[in-house]
């Protein structure tokens, strides 16, 4: 039972050694021209530490919210698709098809609302 976890232990030990060796090597061989940019986790892109009260356009919130909603809702279609054949086999094909259509219809109404309210208008 426990022995089946042995490969994971090996993986941990190996990762530890590898990481330790790389950090040690760079500390030993590497030069140290420390400056502000060098000390940051990412040398390009956004500043990692910043004021949390920074303002940015509400459009991003809208897109993120709409994305989350539809993303989660579409996920619910996966179990529907995988169980479709079983339902057909038990004679409930029409039922499950109409159920799926109803679900998609609800999504479409939501999408119409988003579009007509101009949540996706960028200008």
């Amino acid at each position: 039972m426990l022995s089946s976890y042995f490969p994971i232990a090996v993986l941990f030990i190996f990762a530890l050694i590898l990481g330790g060796v790389f950090v040690g090597l760079s500390a030993w061989i590497g030069r140290r021209p420390y400056n502000k940019v060098r000390l940051e986790p990412y040398e390009c892109g956004l500043e990692p530490a910043d004021s949390p009260r920074k303002r940015f356009s509400v459009k991003f919130f809208m897109v993120a919210m709409v994305f989350l909603l539809f993303d989660v809702e579409v996920t619910l279609l996966f179990p529907w698709a995988t169980l479709f054949k079983q339902f057909i086999a038990s004679g409930l094909g029409v039922f499950i098809f109409i159920e799926g259509l109803l679900f998609i219809a609800v999504l479409v109404i939501g999408w119409l609302y988003v579009v007509r309210k101009g949540a996706l208008k960028w200008e």
Partner: protein, 509 residues
Amino acid sequence: MESLLNTDWLALAYNELPLLLLIVGGTLVLLADLWWPQHILPRWARRKSATVDVHVPDRTPLLLFGMLAALVAFIACWRLWVQHEMPNQMGMLVIDRFSLVGGMMIIGSTIAGLALGWGYLFQHKLPIGEYTVLMLFATAGAWCMISSANLLLAFVGIEILSISAYVLAGMDTKNRLSVESGLKYFLLGAVASAFLLFGIAFFYGATGTLSLVGFTNDGIMQAPTSQFYLILGTAFFLVGIGFKVALAPFHTWTPDVYEGAPIPVTAWFASAVKAAAFLLFARVMLVVLPLMPALGTQLIAGLAIATMFIGNMAALWQDNIKRLLAYSSIAHAGYAALALVTMATIPEAGITSLLWYLMSYSVMTIGAFAVVQLLGRDGEELTSVGALAGLGERHPWLAACLSIFLLSLAGLPPTVGFMAKYYLLANLVAAGHWGLTIAAIISSLISVGYYSYPIVVMYFRPVANQTPHNSMNVGVPIRLVIFFAALAVLVAGIFPDRLMSFIQNSVLL
């Protein structure tokens, strides 16, 4: 899948007609709102007269359609009530007279809430379409709560209701208080929902089922751990539902939310949301209390006493009439919780008095909020009690109506509030809870102090400086709501027997 094959879909659709009507009506309003004309005049006429373009088309027909859908749902509830002698369970939903009466109560509150929005929403430039849609969907959620035989469906119903309610509370985005109330309600409500879900999980751990029908003594009494899980589940459930109905340690959101939300929404919160949460509370306690009668009764009784006294004492210091009515709604949640206490010993009478109490409270609180809304001026809501000074002379009928509602809230005869309290206390005595009875009477006496304060101001305080009399908010629907509420308060207070036998016929356990 076997059960799906054997389901009679037509019968299910027929029995769930109120729910379907609310959902379909809400969806139609949503779609109509999207394609509603943006301008009154056609394009060629608009170019000539640019000034007319400022006026946006009135979307009140959407509100009217929503009211119509709710009215048809109400009638469907009534028809089903007449037909259903016995409870009829279909999957996760159960259709019995208890849920149908609850449905009528909540749909009635929604019709009143929509009627109160007539004129107010247009004047305050609030989105009429969204208001109607959210109210109808929230009512559908409330229907799922009160007619569910399964805790999971009940939770889904609570979330549909609550999320709509958060948006409704924060609907007036130009008003800081409204936005604050929406945010507060959302953050605290989300935590309460988590507690509720946790409680449901423990119920599942204790009983092995989420179906309320399946809660039985057998499984729980045999294993000692499941009794422990049941107590844990009840505790978490009480925290969650206590937040939704505003029981004492979990009531702090109520004054802020009621103050900040637009008045029609506040009136609807105090009636429909509270009633829906209480009916679900009753449905769950109906199966949980027999499993742990002593402890469950003590827990609810403790919450009820704390709620009555905190609500009534805090209301004594309020100068804002919306906050005063908010604390009054907290106190009334305490009284209604007393009806749940009696359910452990006399379940039928307990539920009867709960339904009776919620129904009467809904009517009188909607009436009181409607009068307060009608007194608003120039797009400003009337908030301070002092502004009522001289109302007895200026608007004697309105002052009389507000007095009736306040006296009814205080529980004085000949109003429905007195009858509700009378049945409640009679049941408490019959169940042998003398201490609770005395506590309820004392807190009721305290409440007379703050309910009489606006009445005294209206009739006896001289008007300091006669402010120019601005135009009042006009509107026939709101006057109708006030008229019918006052009529119902008086008629049901003087002749309660018809309504009482109707409610008693609805509770067949």
